[in-house]
Subunit: 111 residues, 2 copies
Amino acid sequence: MGEPQVKKHDVFQAIADPSRRRMLKLLADGEMPITTISGHFPMSRTAVSKHLRILSEAGLVKERKVGRENRFRLDPEPLSELQQWYSYFDRFWENKMAALQHLVESAEAAK
Amino acid sequence: MGEPQVKKHDVFQAIADPSRRRMLKLLADGEMPITTISGHFPMSRTAVSKHLRILSEAGLVKERKVGRENRFRLDPEPLSELQQWYSYFDRFWENKMAALQHLVESAEAAK
DNA sequence: TTGATATAAAACCATTTGGTTGTATATAAT
DNA sequence: ATTATATACAACCAAATGGTTTTATATCAA
């Protein structure tokens, strides 16, 4: 077993920023270098790089050096922590069927 | 139609803080005044009050004056925005069945 | 009425956050 | 070899965050 992996930034804090949420959705389209990502945001490449660092520390993106590029790709796995926390409040929905209904509807809305 | 309701704090930012996440779980047990809530946290009552203000602005808690007390209760509804955002990444799980499996497991874990 | 209780509100503070610009370095293209 | 590209890194900055203490106000209890 490795180190306990103390994350400086957790997933909740990582997705608190709207720019970072947009970056994750953008990266859902596939791996891309910082310059490409940067083209989608009204801020400096350095600022984008800092956001990606935070996402990386939360385990939500992985990086890979290719030539002079640094390519990023999404790793959605840590988002399951979100799902798990959220599920604590499931009992506040009418019943299981309503919860599933809700899930399906939101899945549709996200298409 | 009323005002567009510009929220100063959104649900993502509200749950970014671990103390606020604990407060929401605590309030899942039912309505309670600030003093009671405050008893569960190693910080001043004023600090707790500020956190509750942020949760209130995000629509996650409702307050009600009863005598000299100010009682807070959970309103989980805005959490559905979380669920909706999360669902965008559903396609990264193997398939729908795996997603449901995952949902059920996390629901179990939260019991 | 005199305290005690529950809370709000204001002022203050250190640290973090989200951004900038400027400089340096490695790689690729001509 | 020279130039252009992709990025990292450091220094800086204003505003937001998460906390404190102090002061004030309303309500309940004796």
